[in-house]
């Protein structure tokens, strides 16, 4: 982290005060939305809203389990996982200077899923419920897989700056690793279906220990990311400029990609492969605010958290008491948004 440039012209916008004000308003509204969604998650479930309200006011033994052991960790865990993905997406888009970069499209998530599956098979464990030590080990394996997949994508794309070939390489890596994963699972068909469902995104079994893990990693990731945000700003101006500003590019990139891998792996380990949150969250922020990376790295996780919370809520509400895969919900919304982005880019240029 020796990469802090001495001086930078960014952030010295003419109307800095107004920008700061807009940013503050944006943050507050995002937090407000999160609170609303959290409350919504407490009252929406397999019981009617009226019943849930009564539970909150006068809980009995069973309803307090449902409220505080199931619904609350579930929604907070979804928020943390979404925040990790939003952070990973914001960093990836900055590092690759590519507005479409995100863990899912880069193959990072597939690498994490593969690492996760290999470690689960090796430990002869199942995803339903895991002890703490296993959870950490599994997350570590997922992280190795995520980092490996990201490096593979970069080397296939011959560097980080080939916008189109990077996406292509990411998709190739995602397919390749996905295929290996399927082959592995086919050999263990007693866990095949459970893993399929989980890998398609599942917030169903988030416990307080999952929340602890997700929250802890979020804290671990966000601090170095914020410290390196100026490096990201410098990268936005181009490599030459960044270098002339004294940014040690390989070091910054490596650290940032490490953060992307850790964030993605932790989220995949707890909620499966949830695509597009990492893509949409930074975009939604940039659509409404014009900001530097220091602020983006705070706003994108907040936005991603709220997005996954909303998707989780939708997944268990639409066909309650049955559930939709949460990954399918985000893929529907995110996929449409990706199409919109591509359409707008082609129209503009």
């Amino acid at each position: 982290m020796s990469a802090r440039p001495a001086t930078l012209p960014f952030g010295a916008a003419p109307c800095e005060a107004a920008a700061a004000q807009r940013f503050a308003v944006w943050l507050l509204s995002c937090i407000a939305v999160t609170f609303v969604l959290t409350f919504g998650s407490l009252v929406i479930g397999t019981s009617s809203i009226g019943t849930s309200m009564r539970w909150i006011l006068s809980p009995d033994a069973q309803s307090s389990v449902v409220l505080w052991q199931i619904r609350l960790p579930r929604t907070i865990g979804a928020w943390c996982a979404g925040a990790l993905l939003g952070l990973a997406g914001a960093i990836a888009q900055g590092v690759f200077r590519n507005p479409l970069a995100e863990p899912y499209l880069l193959g990072t998530a597939s690498g994490a899923a593969l690492g996760l599956t290999i470690s689960l098979i090796a430990a002869d464990a199942s995803i339903g419920g895991l002890a703490w030590a296993t959870k950490l080990g599994v997350t570590g394996a997922a992280c190795v897989g995520a980092a490996g997949a990201t490096l593979l994508t970069i080397s296939l794309a011959r560097g980080v700056l080939q916008t189109r070939s990077l996406l292509l390489a990411g998709v190739v890596v995602a397919f390749l690793l996905g295929a290996i994963l399927q082959l592995l699972l086919l050999s263990r068909f007693e866990i095949w279906r459970t893993m399929q469902t989980f890998l398609f995104g599942s917030t169903a079994f988030i416990s307080w220990s999952s929340v602890g893990l997700l929250g802890g990693v979020l804290c671990i990731c966000i601090v170095p990311a914020a410290l390196l945000s100026r490096g990201l700003d410098a990268l936005t101006l181009g490599e030459d400029t960044a270098q002339s500003l004294g940014v040690s590019l390989p070091m910054v990139r490596l650290t940032l990609l490490g953060i992307v891998s850790l964030a993605t792996a932790t989220s995949v380990g707890q909620v499966g492969v949830v695509g597009f949150v990492g893509l949409i969250a930074p975009h939604l922020v940039r659509e409404t605010l014009s900001i530097n990376h220091r602020r983006l790295l705070i706003a994108a996780p907040l936005c991603g958290g709220a997005l996954l919370q909303a998707a989780d809520l939708a997944s268990r509400w639409v066909i309650r008491p049955a559930e939709l895969p949460v990954g399918a919900v985000t893929a529907c919304v995110g996929g449409s948004y990706l199409v919109f982005l591509l359409w707008r880019r082609s129209r503009n240029g």
Binding site: T46, V65, V66, I70, G129, L130, E190, R193, T197, P321
Partner: protein, 328 residues
């Protein structure tokens, strides 16, 4: 077999996955612990004895399979591929085992089918392998949607629905027709039904009051067996009350809090998942988990209850013997 088949009412997304329940119950390489054949102690009250043997309908026959396609068979097929374990079991129970030239990779009962070539699974049917074996007929699950492709390649197939209890009888009838042994099929149907009734009657004699509430987990997603599925029907006939009501469809993917809220007396689950139930958020508070009223089944035993075929009564008996232990 009184129930009419009902269309899957679960969300379409769930249906396909839930169907997998029928083919992926677990690796069953060990033979079943030797259990005597059903041997019904009570004759089935409703099934009238068939005095005169029905003359076998001569092929050619035309039948309509469960995906609504008309299938024409000029003669009894000599080379058959079965792509679902329950269909393999039914075919063999009707004496058609020697006609099998390949099965799906999960078919492992009766033991003689284990040596046959494998042509993929439910979602990865190896069409090339099937075509190379030049079968006269392929037996499929309705979810396998490859009938048209096979027909283009000159291979006839019959797709059968296997979600409900009534579907078991319909499958037996259909395969009996195909093999030209309708009388034998009728007898098998009766035998299955009589055995199921017998186990049910024995169980009901033990039950007092309303019977325990149960949750049958098909897999850890969690997919459950609804009251409308064949598993659900077996549970109902054992005098238990399924917490997963018919309106949720045969194999819904549940919000786990549903199970916590309905607090079943007994949970039926696979051996792999049983030790992990208490680690799921909030599940340590479910009465069945707290009081260890959890029935877990080894893969080979579980196969008998998750395959809608001739061995369902055996599966039912395994469930009942566990119920007697944990919820007397």
């Amino acid at each position: 077999m009184s129930r009419t088949s009902r269309a899957a009412r679960a969300a379409p997304l769930c249906v396909l996955r839930a169907l997998l329940a029928l083919v992926l119950p677990g690796a069953a390489h060990a033979a079943l612990p030797s259990q005597a054949d059903p041997g019904p102690p009570i004759p089935a009250p409703t099934s009238s004895p068939t005095p005169a043997p029905i003359p076998a309908p001569r092929h050619p026959i035309t039948l309509r399979d469960d995906s609504g396609r008309e299938v024409h068979l000029a003669q009894v097929p000599q080379r058959i591929v079965s792509m679902l374990p329950s269909l393999t079991e039914t075919l063999c129970a009707l004496g058609g085992c020697s006609r099998l030239v390949a099965t799906d990779r999960y078919s492992d009962w009766p033991p003689e089918v284990r040596a046959l070539p494998k042509a993929g699974g439910l979602e990865d049917v190896q069409i090339e392998q099937i075509v190379r074996l030049r079968p006269d007929l392929v037996l499929l699950s309705r979810s396998q949607r490859i009938s048209d492709r096979l027909r283009e390649l000159g291979v006839e197939s019959v797709a059968l629905d296997t979600q409900t209890y009534a579907a078991i009888a319909r499958t037996v009838t259909a395969i009996g027709q195909i093999l030209g042994v309708p009388a034998r099929a009728a007898a098998l149907e009766q035998r299955i039904d009589a055995a199921v009734r017998a186990v049910g009657a024995q169980a009901l004699a033990h039950r007092h009051g309303a019977g325990p509430t149960v949750y049958f987990e098909v897999d850890a997603a969690p997919y459950a067996a609804g009251a409308d599925s064949f598993i659900g029907e077996l549970l109902t006939r054992l005098g238990t009350r399924n917490i997963v009501t018919p309106d949720l469809g045969p194999f819904p993917r549940l919000n786990p809090e549903y199970v916590v809220r309905h607090d079943p007396d007994v949970i039926l689950v696979s051996e792999i998942q049983a030790p992990h139930l208490a680690e799921r958020p909030g599940w340590d508070r479910i009465r069945a988990v707290r009081e260890q009223r959890v029935c877990s089944f080894a893969p080979a035993v579980r196969d008998t209850m998750v395959r809608p075929g001739p061995r369902v009564a055996q599966g039912m008996r395994a469930i009942e013997s566990c119920l007697e232990r944990v919820a007397p």
